[in-house]
Symmetry: C2
Subunit: 334 residues, 2 copies
Amino acid sequence: MTRPDPTRADPALVVGDLSEEELLARIFPLLPAGSSTLVGPGDDAAVVQAPDGRVVISTDVLVEGRHFRRDWSSGADVGWRAAVQNLADVVAMGARPTAMVVALVAPPDLRVDWVTGLARGLAEACGRHDVGVVGGDLSGGDAVVVSVTVHGDLAGHAPVLRSGARPGDVVGHAGVCGWSAAGLALLAAGAGHVSPPLVAAYLRPDPPLGAGGAAVDAGATSMLDVSDGLLRDAGRLARASGVVLDLDRVPGAFGADLVALREAASATGITAEDWVLSGGEDHGLLATFPAGSGLPAPFRPVGRVLAAGADGPGVLVGGAAPTTASPGWDHFAR
Amino acid sequence: MTRPDPTRADPALVVGDLSEEELLARIFPLLPAGSSTLVGPGDDAAVVQAPDGRVVISTDVLVEGRHFRRDWSSGADVGWRAAVQNLADVVAMGARPTAMVVALVAPPDLRVDWVTGLARGLAEACGRHDVGVVGGDLSGGDAVVVSVTVHGDLAGHAPVLRSGARPGDVVGHAGVCGWSAAGLALLAAGAGHVSPPLVAAYLRPDPPLGAGGAAVDAGATSMLDVSDGLLRDAGRLARASGVVLDLDRVPGAFGADLVALREAASATGITAEDWVLSGGEDHGLLATFPAGSGLPAPFRPVGRVLAAGADGPGVLVGGAAPTTASPGWDHFAR
């Protein structure tokens, strides 16, 4: 067999046709530099500005067959999603994202244009926020794994933790709720045509990441991004803060989402309310604000913080224990 | 089937028996905090001190079946190795490592004590350097993947890049060379008993990471860690610097390594010289120093830097183009 010309742009070219350095040579030019980058890819490590004197760090891994399917998501979709869900973690700390590194495990039969698509998707999401992709690693393997670590700068502010909610605070949410899970359910049912916007929300979630800075400016007392479903993540915030989150405006506060989810609900037999309460991967922001301070756009009020009673910290929906079919995802549950 | 008690320390317990939060509850207490850690695991992101105002970042991924086999390496071995090879990247920039994050992909049938072993191995390697394991991510998957991102602080120094070598500089190396590759070859031949120290060097490489700081103090002009073999990594440094590295004391400067490798060479038919020139994953440091400055311990002189000639940048061994059976690893080469 003659060896393919590694400089050729051939849609049938696969990872195993190239050396690691040839593959990297195709990826590097696609990655955004970011204005915080001092030393980018190509040395033992990158060097990134951390003007605050602290650095915010979060990592997430996406696994083929668990977090995405290659017949549903393009490389660019996976790159976009990997970037956005990591950016959301940094934003949810009240920080400005600065840089990320990406490790890719790729089977030899993975198409090279899937990998360059991944780089383009990462670049597209990062470029909007002046975030550099400053380094990475490549390995062979049997399934695609994308592991992203993102960094951010606090610009002199205290980080906004999950543990800062206090009784009397107002609970706000920014972003859509349930869309990504509904889009995934439509794809699984072979019914993506029912609602392209929901499918797009699964393939390329687009949370309002600017809301993180607005929350900091408004004095948010706690914040997280909703990655595993509203109820489950609200429960995490409640337990970390030792309070009860009474989501007394749920699901009504998500009226626009309920409308958007209606046709998908009919098509799949899952209720729109369940998606709002339990759907993950929209990466909207859930935050608490001091009472009377007013919520900054695009946050809408969804509840209030109560002191924990005899039952301890937790979540109420309209004053009662929530009932939903699915409490949120668990990657290991059998 | 009754659900196992998740608090029980049962050697037969597997990842699929636990929820993600139950598994994390077993891992978190094992991880070192590190004195640079401001916010550790459990929030959306970690916060780590970056007193220099810059942060050094490197990432590496280890894949079961490519970088380790579970019948050869324990979880603790893999954790140790993942930590050390990442620490070496930060040290090779002339930085002090401060913190790492770890993403783990684990099959449901992976034993929980393998995962807690991994955490212990990470902790053992990080603890010696006051490096915190400050966050991570868990996912299911078909093969074990360990993705580590490590961070470091430059303490006011310029980073020591690959591109700074100048004609006239002395080339130094710190650490063993060829041991890890020989240990792996012994395991592959079912002959680990021939040299337990070489097998140990593969399972738990232990490069002299303190040499990085010594190199900075001695004015090193360039540096990298030898992860893919002396020749291949010397070639990278030479190309980045636009010079020729004449390794005119190789393999003689590695006389102690040649002795240590002798029995393994007899047992496998690979020459000790090939291991010294091409064996990867020892993670020793290769650096260049201004002529006449003297090399700091534990660096030994292995060559000198020449101006690139008509053939361009590259590596010579004793004034001639090197000859070796294997030019170094490529994870994608067929």
